[in-house]
């Protein structure tokens, strides 16, 4: 059983929902990332999603675009990201880490090299935003060969027929994009999200996590009720942006924001 499967199984047993924070690796600087990861776990994260910076993050809103720019300005490469996770794993061998990014930096490294290095670093799953299942076969097979999960996206525009194919290709969990838009977009229509999640729950045994547009404990709680977990990205990354010049304040602020979400989820 993979670390991701174990985590969801354990949460299910306890009747709790997964809280999955997202931060971009190397933001505001690579030296901060490992401390931020540990802090998020301490504040109640069940799984960590770590963004691999890319120059042209087409699916992301301005908050995560700027995070990528900050990380790239500090010279963060995909190899650095592996190094950071290796460092994180020295103290934490239980919390799953999922990399989230775009295909081109992976292609630049080569699928084989990427997958082997990711496995060595202790990464549990990979979500490539611009690699839909139709194009993902080779990459997904390589991940599987190293016992890592392929996390795929489902969207409001995904038909049930397509969702079945995506679920068959994916493992670990499925990431439901709660709205038509980019990360960090505006208001969520919670009943609509719930309806779609219910449909998808009927066609897969994989856990369903929801992300995009979750800013506060209340929304997190409402979505957790209709899913297996919530992903929080821009709400955290915007705090990092605000404190980029005062890095010592980042950890306490992130813990405060994520802690509130944890409380709301567990209440």
């Amino acid at each position: 059983m993979s670390r991701i499967q174990k985590t969801f199984a354990q949460l299910k047993k306890e009747g709790r929902k997964a809280l999955i924070p997202f931060v971009t690796a190397g933001d505001p600087a690579p030296e901060q990332t490992v401390a931020i990861m540990h802090a998020l776990v301490e504040a109640g994260a069940d799984i960590l999603e770590l963004g691999v910076p890319f120059s042209d993050p087409m699916a992301d809103g301005p908050v995560i675009q700027k995070a990528c720019e900050r990380a790239l300005k500090k010279g963060t490469t995909t190899l650095d990201v592996f190094q950071l996770v290796t460092e994180f794993r020295k103290k934490d061998q239980t919390t799953p880490v999922v990399l989230m990014g775009y295909l081109n930096p992976i292609e630049a490294l080569g699928y084989d090299t990427f997958v082997k290095a990711a496995a060595m670093a202790g990464i549990d799953g990979v979500l490539v935003v611009d690699l839909p299942p139709e194009e993902a076969e080779e990459f997904a097979d390589l991940l599987k060969g190293q016992e890592m999960d392929s996390v795929f996206l489902l969207a409001p525009t995904t038909t049930l027929e397509r969702a079945r194919k995506i679920a068959a290709a994916g493992s670990g969990y499925l990431y439901y994009v709660s709205l038509k838009g980019v990360t960090g977009s505006a208001t969520l229509d919670i009943p609509a999200v719930a309806e779609k999640l219910n449909e998808f729950a009927g066609i897969t045994d994989l856990p369903l996590a929801v992300g995009f547009g979750i800013r506060d404990g209340q929304t997190a709680r409402a979505l957790a009720e209709v899913s297996d977990g919530v992903i929080v990205g821009s709400a955290l990354v915007s705090q990092i942006a605000e404190l980029a010049d005062q890095p010592e304040k980042i950890v306490p602020r992130l813990q405060e924001v994520l802690g509130e979400m944890r409380q709301a989820l567990d209440a």
Binding site: D56, N104, A108, T157, I166
Partner: protein, 403 residues
């Protein structure tokens, strides 16, 4: 039979040209692209749709465009006879309108009331704003903030045509960033918005349909060559940014094995300086904007900034079909530097009384070189893809003149 016969079957059902192309998008757009693919398959086989497209090209765009013999320039160069496919004479002044007419028809048939576009030099933005006005569609155009500065006449033209121009401040503030932003808009407004992509790039089926809509220029040029030259030309030359004017000219000739083809990329300050926009000459395959193709990227796979005197070629990628045509050797890809481009630009003004777009001047610059290695009974067809009125400020600045 042509050794290139299989080229006409591309792309395959999933949008691949060999290993290039494909549909590398986030999940939200998958459904819209499947729908567009299905719609395009249906309409491209529908004689009524084709008739409507042809009628618009004739009555609104003013097709066919002439194949003009640049006799004085050719004589001056003393080599092959150069013929210009006059896409600059199309309504809106460039080849771009062939594609926007086609895509606007698709938008109309899909019932979506709003169109968006990305633009570099502004030609595609103008061509989109134009057809949107004609069909009563709401139109927003994304344009890199730097390009808004250097192509201000086109920005104003789009506004006159009722479009809203949205300057893009992210990244390098040029065409690639405009495309990122247009994709972000589309993912947000996918229900009511048709994205009119301006070149043979993007996710499947865009590279295919943009090529097909532009191929009218190649079909005409082929027919005109037979009529006016009495045979097919020895070579075709076109500039390549994304590469839509080039594929439009080349595609109907692909299986004419005796016709050589040259795509000309933006050499900027020269390939050796790194300041250029020539992914086919100096890049490597990667994935950007929904397709696998040659890209300008660093060792870590980050897209790097490009440089070209012409905003329309200032793009780090290229249409995936070009990548394939390069690999199999059907088309040869060359570069022209900014300096060579300026000389060719001035040549055409001086010898032929035609002010060419700086983009098209890349093709002219290579034609100038190639023609001189050929004989007077040989024939070159150059795609004069756009007119240069929009570039006079840039050219004046290069000459140290303020207007």
């Amino acid at each position: 039979m042509s050794k290139y016969a299989d080229l006409l079957k591309l792309p395959d059902a999933r949008g691949h040209f060999g290993k290039y192309g494909g549909r590398f998008v986030s999940e939200t757009l998958s459904f819209a692209l499947e729908q567009l693919d299905e719609q395009y398959r249906r309409l491209s086989a529908d004689p009524d749709f084709q008739a409507e497209f042809d009628r618009d090209l004739a009555l609104y765009v003013g097709r066919p465009s002439p194949l003009y013999p640049a006799e004085r320039w050719s004589q001056h160069l003393g080599g092959a006879q150069i013929w210009l496919k006059r896409e600059d004479l199309n309504h809106t002044g460039a080849h771009k309108v062939n594609n926007t007419i086609g895509q606007a028809l698709l938008a109309k048939y899909s019932g979506k009331p709003r169109v968006i576009a990305e633009t570099g030099a502004g030609q595609h933005g103008v061509a989109t704003a134009t057809v949107a006005a004609r069909l009563g569609l709401k139109c927003q155009v994304y344009m890199g903030a730097d390009d808004v500065q250097r192509q201000s006449p086109n920005v104003y033209r789009m506004k006159l045509l009722g479009a809203e121009v949205i300057p893009v401040e992210s990244g390098s503030k040029t065409l690639k960033d405009a495309m990122n932003e247009a994709l972000r808009d589309w993912v947000t407004n996918v229900d009511d918005t048709f994205y009119i992509i301006g070149t043979v790039a993007g996710p499947h089926p865009y590279p295919q349909l943009v090529r097909d809509f532009n191929a009218v220029a190649g079909r005409e040029a082929r027919r005109q060559s037979l009529e006016q030259i009495g045979r097919l030309p020895d070579a075709l030359i076109a500039c390549v940014g994304g590469g839509s004017n080039a594929l439009g000219l080349f595609h109907p000739f692909l299986t004419d094995d005796e016709v050589a083809m040259y795509g000309v990329e933006a050499g900027g300050d020269g390939l050796e300086t790194g300041r250029h926009a020539a992914p086919l000459n100096a890049g490597r395959p990667g994935v950007l904007h929904g397709n696998r193709t040659y890209l300008m990227e660093d060792a870590a796979g980050q897209i790097i900034e490009t440089h070209s005197i012409s905003a329309g070629l200032d793009y780090p990628g290229v249409g995936p079909e070009h990548s394939y045509l390069k690999d199999i050797g059907r088309v040869q890809y060359e570069v022209a530097t900014d300096k060579e481009v300026m000389e060719a630009f001035q040549d055409l003004c001086y010898f032929e009384g035609i002010i060419p777009a700086l983009e098209s001047s890349h093709a002219l610059a290579y034609a100038k070189k190639l023609a001189q290695t050929m004989k007077p009974d040989q024939h070159l067809v150059v795609n004069l893809s756009g007119r240069g009125d929009k570039d006079i400020m840039t050219v004046a600045a290069m000459q140290g003149i303020s207007l």
